[in-house]
């Protein structure tokens, strides 16, 4: 099946190209980039020298021209929010399936989206789109949508461990504190002083406290699964590494909850899921162990002194946190083996 990528010049775009070039059932037939139109893919993604990326070239990004490509079965959008919605409009109208890596269609509630992101460029598309986290979203999405919104990197690292526990009533819905620690690639490939090597090496800091945009989808999804409104404290931090996110969630245990019931909730939720790995309590996930894979590692401990549960997760922000998950969505949507093409 032919696939295309719109806007593949950033870090998650490079991972997406890399993974799709090795996919047994998908053929990368178009990759667009305004900035790099006509250049070979490998000139922008040098890790791909010596492969078909030497001959495949970026094409321009005219939405109607892309929509006219009847040969493309699925379009991946690796664009900034706002721009993604513009392309989504045209491609969905032309009957193409779309997997969007931006935030544009992750949030069902328009008012919430606009509070965090501003004006929505394609609100009419919202009813036909859905936030799809394969391990959590009801599988009927495959038949009900025209556009799948791949979740954000931080949200994935929060929802995978926490959502089933809220649904199972193992943890409290209040006093949830989420601390995440991300590699610098999460910020994108922007030539800004703050992301220079000399600024970020040997440096760690919190940022975007209180108002990080990912709160929108984190809370919407958690509230959905808890059956009631959930509000969390989300504290993201920049870490001196390129890739990886670790997330540590502290939340009071629900009355009567035990570590066993927590682990049971996880096992039930994730039985047979190839990309969720539950570690024994006491063994904590390490971002280096998941980097390059589409896996989320989870673990939890119960603190008898505080009555809190402390949950830890790790993922690769560019893979399970973006491009790997997008491909996982494609696999399920198109009936391929869920793990096809994923490391």
């Amino acid at each position: 099946m032919n696939v295309g990528i719109v806007g593949a010049s950033g870090y998650s775009g490079a991972v997406l190209v890399n993974l799709l070039l090795g996919h047994p059932h998908a053929k990368l037939a178009a990759v667009t980039s305004r900035q790099h139109a006509d250049k070979p893919l490998s000139s922008v993604i040098p890790a791909l020298r010596g492969t078909v990326a030497d001959t495949l070239r970026f094409s321009g990004s005219d939405a109607s021209a892309l929509a006219a490509r009847a040969d493309i079965g699925i379009w991946f959008l690796a664009l900034p929010h706002g721009a993604a919605a513009e392309f989504a409009k045209v491609l969905v109208a032309a009957g193409r399936r779309v997997i969007d890596l931006s935030a544009d269609f992750r949030i069902a509630d328009l008012a919430t989206y606009e509070k965090y992101y501003g004006h929505h460029h394609a609100p009419d598309l919202l009813p036909h789109a859905r936030f799809v986290l394969p391990e959590l979203t009801d599988p009927k999405w495959k038949d009900e949508i025209k556009l799948a919104a791949a979740p954000g990197c931080y949200p994935t690292s929060v929802l995978v461990p926490l959502a089933p526990l809220l649904a199972a009533g193992v943890v409290s819905r209040e006093h949830i504190v989420v601390n995440s620690f991300s590699g610098v690639s999460g910020a994108g490939k922007k030539a800004e002083e703050a992301y220079l090597y000399c600024e970020r090496a040997e440096s760690a800091k919190a940022y975007s406290l209180v108002k990080h945009r990912h709160l929108a989808e984190i809370e919407e999804q958690l509230s959905l699964r808890a059956g009631a409104k959930v509000v969390v404290q989300f504290n993201p931090h920049l870490a001196p590494m390129r890739r990886g996110i670790i997330t540590t969630i502290t939340v009071p245990a629900a009355p009567g909850a035990t570590l066993d019931s927590l682990y049971a909730a996880w096992r039930t939720a994730y039985v047979g899921r190839p990309f969720v790995c539950i570690l024994p309590s006491g063994e904590t996930p390490d971002s280096a162990h998941v980097t390059g894979t589409n896996r989320v590692d989870l673990s939890a401990v119960l603190d008898p002194r505080t009555g809190n549960i402390v949950i830890t997760s790790a993922e690769d922000n560019l893979v399970k946190g973006a491009s790997g998950q997008a491909i996982q969505i494609m696999n399920l949507w198109c009936g391929f083996p869920e793990t096809a093409g994923l490391p």
Copy 2:
């Protein structure tokens, strides 16, 4: 004034030697290390080549021989807990002032110490010792003790921002969640696989959840200042950097508390203190900005949606978190300018 260091072959020992060699009022007259006895300091601390460290040699570590050194005004102990107490006994008995970098005398309650650290090697010394965090500890310590216990690295990063807020009633005493990220030097100079470059680079992970030893002094000190028992969730993490600790504390605001009252509490507590730097709300501390200095940077935000206050701090784990603070203690104890010899 002559000073000596017992056990200076690790990372904080090297910083201690470095700082003392440049101190205008202290003269490093003895540095002991069982492992390196008779070697020049610079052979173990190569950063100090070309200085007096080329001729100053490590001496052996016989406690009585050290105690006999009537010329040494203050002894710094840079030893593991347990071993530190053994030396402290002998040195204090000989009438020497001691500044201990270990945990042995940080905790006033013997039962608490033993729960976390095991058997105490010098409990009789406890009444004559005290946890001394210069910015917080009542200044009368200078006249009342024979041994000053320099606080632990994580505890410093927690207590400096949090203690005044508990004392001023600006934050709740409950639901305190502390997340810290530390550079690898905090683990010491141990030749263990877990601390190899290839294991720690591009890697972040939580560790010692629920039971980290620093909980003992963190909670004892917080309870002291809150005037009631305080229990916290303390989640430490290893970061892929050599030095630095960032700490992010989430705690509900007390009823009626505002960001202004929080900042006022800080300013009151730290007026005139040279090593506490209060950043405007919204500007978060960066560990790279404090590395090499004896400074703690602080900041806070108030989240109206959750009612939580999120406090962030940064310090250099080897300086303000260990050796710099030890020297700051010496300065105050001996009547030197508080900032003498500190970067």
Copy 3:
């Protein structure tokens, strides 16, 4: 075809396991490790959690038991030199094909081997073994040997660019100066102070000047291709990164040689080779662009002022410099596509 690995607990062993688990034509049927016998592979190689590595276990390392495995078509030896030869003896005697990642069979001349490595544990095997660098070694090796010696990491980075140029008479045979910078994984997974994170981060240094063991195979192979004895200056350095080797070779141009004739020699030597990528003069290889791939990137410039040619190359020390090349050898030896299973 079933394959086995002897001694897979180090960094190149982990890469070998990882690549073989994804190989379309090879099935990893045995992985031995004295240290980790009976543990699941993923307990030692956590990056492989969630795969068959969770159920595949390390087995013990009794050479005769391994030799008795008639189902194993090829054995990979990922052992230290000396130990490798011991296992090779037994396995080859039992009629198994062996690909050795150690230095034991890379050097044809026994006296040279012994000068650098000491006593040879299986000299009788030498006539049946050969140094195999697929892009350079005469293809008849496939029919003539019982054991293929995979080249060393540094040697690969030197020979791939330099050997064809010596053979073509484009560069001088004298005054060859090779400087290499390697990631720390090249040192192995040894719990030694020198390889601790805090010792290697932000640190670069030369080491093993004049006498690095890799000189043995570098000079033997260069002399072979030059048709005369070649001696080089080889200066290795440790770089503050985990993976990758860059090598910069300075050598006088041969009389009449031009940059064009140099590039022509490369293109002729490497026409159709999937893992050699020749960059235009002026564009230098970056180790980050080849990490994770089996590729060597090359480039060269000619300095009219000095008459020197400066050649630059980059490879991943664990892939093309070890395990990837070993698999490439297997592919050719067994008639699989040369790129099978290689990223």
Copy 4:
């Protein structure tokens, strides 16, 4: 004595400010930056929070206004080449002493300068300026010049080890091959994609082969000391670290030269010099051991097989390679102790 800095917003500027603020004999009375005029120094150099840098502000960069400051004894120029010469003209004309960190006055031969750097903005100043490397330059510079040109970072790492050996006839004047490996701060604080954290971490590469500008001063100085024209191969590389330069020089030993005569030449040249540290043969310099100091560590080996001498050096590119050396120059020029204010 009052000093001023023109253009202190980059990495070496920050080091210069930091060192001068702690200098016992110099008082930092003016720091200019077009970009940051009126901001407190600590807003641009956050490492200096909590010091006088909180109140000292950047001023504008009008050359005549600066020249009018009769209270400033020495001006440091931390500007790009070209701009530096413009300011130098005005300041020297006003009778001020100037220490220039740019390349503008390092090269005595105008034609050479123009070949590498383009049009010279103040050629009339050249006779009153001089390249000053304190350990090498004839001390009479103090009385003969109006402007001291602080050497470049790479050149310092080359000249300190090599110049005395050429002068003493211990090494050949031909076939000199210099390989250097520098931290990223050497590239400056430019918001360019190539210097982003994600581009430079885990990456090493050669750059500016054959034509690096530092060749101009390296060869001019070496030729001076060799008493004949010297041409070298200079191969710089970018390393994944923030600070530090290691340089490895390969050069044939002169006939009759021995390692002893080499070390004797060094000892003679550097007797009593506080910032040159000669390591025993076999012990190689490590950039991490000199970072933060004004020291150059040197070592050499003689390879009997090749007849080459391999010299290794390490320095901190921002200290001995720039700002530390500039202060060392000031110390000598003004009669302060040579080590004043230098770590």
